[in-house]
């Protein structure tokens, strides 16, 4: 199937969905239950004109990116270390298998108690959620490097440090990349939960407070924007992979 054909199909499918939504909303005729697409657009325009939507989007995005990058910066070296050292794996393993079952959302309140209602608690929460995903992916990527690759490098004269920097790190880039992509998706999950519980700004805050004003259209506008933002950041990440990391992701980027 050609690129243009599949792009056209995607466009048609979105348009078809909007049509069904419009017809469904007209049939139900209850804007407090299901607003029409046009109502959502005018509602969004209201929020845009008073500046709420843009600033909320910016603040949510800032929290996501800051937490995601912070978490990755911690997770990548940790994952490389856990992947290469049996001792490190033994030290870190029990914590991984414990915290795996403690979702970030369970920690929202605790983080607010510890780090306050400001930006710190939200950024750290996203960093927490990111760290585990990226670290586990990185470590399993290191573990999946064929032994022959390591042995080959050593037989070609690479010392231990060179083997790490020239083989282990580049060979793990696909798993790091995919881990960060998964973590980005989970960051959106976490930020909404955090902003619903404790924030005076952000898309999650709009979704939560719209109910007080019976503005289901605002709620829809924020939800759609959230999805669009996620879609867009994922696209940007994919593009970055294709452009900047192409040689490392030759086999991994085919999804």
């Amino acid at each position: 199937m050609g690129r243009n054909v599949s792009a056209g199909l995607s466009l048609a499918s979105v348009f078809g969905f909007m049509l069904i939504w419009q017809l469904g909303a007209m049939w139900l005729n209850d804007p407090l239950f299901l607003p029409r697409p046009w109502d959502v657009i005018t509602g969004a325009a209201e929020l845009v004109s008073d500046g709420t939507l843009i600033s909320s989007m910016a603040i949510s995005m800032m929290r996501i990116l800051a937490g995601w990058l912070l978490g990755s910066i911690v997770a990548i070296p940790l994952g490389l270390w856990v992947g290469t050292s049996h001792a490190a794996r033994a030290i870190v393993d029990p914590f991984i298998h414990f915290f795996r079952f403690v979702p970030a959302i369970a920690l929202v309140t605790l983080f607010i108690v510890w780090f306050g209602v400001g930006e710190m608690s939200k950024i750290l929460l996203i960093a927490y959620a990111t760290t585990f995903i990226v670290m586990v992916n990185t470590a399993s990527g290191v573990g999946a490097i064929p032994q022959e690759k390591i042995d080959a490098a050593r037989c070609l004269g690479a010392n231990r440090r060179q083997t790490f920097t020239q083989i282990v790190v580049p060979a793990s880039i696909p798993s790091i990349y995919i881990g960060m992509r998964l973590a980005l998706a989970s960051s959106f999950l976490v930020i909404v939960a955090a902003e619903m519980l404790a924030a005076s700004s952000g898309l999650g805050y709009i979704i939560w407070t719209s109910r007080l004003y019976f503005r289901i259209d605002w709620m829809f506008a924020a939800i759609i924007l959230l999805g669009a933002l996620g879609f867009l950041t994922d696209r940007v990440w994919k593009m970055l992979g294709r452009e900047a990391l192409n040689r490392y992701l030759r086999d991994a980027a085919k999804y």
């Binding site: 042995d151 490098a153 037989c155 070609l156 690479a158 020239q166 030759r250 086999d251």
Partner: protein, 266 residues
């Protein structure tokens, strides 16, 4: 051959080997194994599967260590892998560096040795030409066929300028036609480089095609070299020659007896 005893390229003296964790005497994979390979020789090792052929190569490469006895190269102890002893692996996908082009893969050894970019490229080009990959310098491994990948491995190993080249069934995973072509070429490459080649295979025809001497391993555990044959045929060898066939038959008989354990009963 006796004169080479002290300065042999590879020298096994009463070597026994058990992998860690099962280090009981009864579980030695190799036992009382002695073998001396002079510099510049093409030595082929054949034997039934599970006889420890790959283990023997690992002892030379320095990725494994003997439990008993000693393994030396040019009278030196082996403390770990280094560029003196290059290795060509059976695996087609595993050993190549997927994120590097053919040229960068082949230039890896010189890079580790600190060569500058121009020297690296020149060295890489020389060995890329030698293995017949001219024109594929800027391709990535995923763009190459299995046979071409093994050519990259061979070029990469030689470009690191090793004294000893270890080949662990390098063509076993390839189709029959590609295998035949590469078997011919490896004999030519050995002649051109003049290095010591130690080639492991379970294909007797291949062994007779390549080896100056062929060592037949006994059945494991406690495997050792059962017999060594001098193959006095000129290169390039002709596998349709009657003497070739005779040697193959003799070796096949030996290995069959080895595999069925008949020797132990004789």
């Amino acid at each position: 051959m006796t004169a080479a005893r002290d300065t042999a390229a590879i020298d096994f003296r009463d070597v026994g080997m058990a992998y860690p964790g099962q280090a009981k005497g009864s579980e030695l994979i190799l036992a009382e194994l002695s073998l001396s390979i002079p510099e510049g020789e093409f030595f082929v090792l054949v034997g039934p599967s599970g006889s420890g052929k790959s283990t023997l190569l690992k002892l030379i490469a320095g990725t494994a260590f003997p439990t008993e006895g000693e393994v030396k190269t040019f009278d030196q102890d082996i403390h770990g892998p280094d560029r003196q002893r290059g290795m060509v692996f059976q695996s087609v996908e595993g050993p190549l560096f997927d994120w590097l082009t053919v040229e960068e893969n082949v230039g890896f050894g010189p890079k580790m040795a600190g060569a500058d970019g121009a020297t690296r490229r020149a060295t890489a080009q020389r060995f890329i030409d030698m293995v017949g990959l001219k024109g594929h310098e800027h391709k990535y491994p995923s763009e190459l066929s299995g046979g071409m990948k093994q050519r990259v491995q061979i070029a990469r190993t030689l470009a690191a300028d090793p004294k000893v080249v270890l080949l662990d069934e390098p063509f076993a995973a390839l189709d029959a036609l590609t295998r035949r072509v590469l078997q011919r070429e490896i004999a030519r490459i050995w002649t051109e480089t003049g290095r010591t080649f130690l080639y492991v295979t379970h294909d007797i025809r291949e062994a007779v095609l390549l080896g100056q001497r062929i060592g037949v391993m006994s059945r494991g555990p406690r495997a050792s070299i059962r017999n060594i044959y001098d193959i006095d045929l000129p290169y390039p060898r002709d596998d349709l020659d009657s003497r070739f066939a005779e040697i193959v038959r003799k070796l096949e008989g030996d290995i069959e007896r080895e595999a069925s354990g008949q020797w132990d009963e004789m």
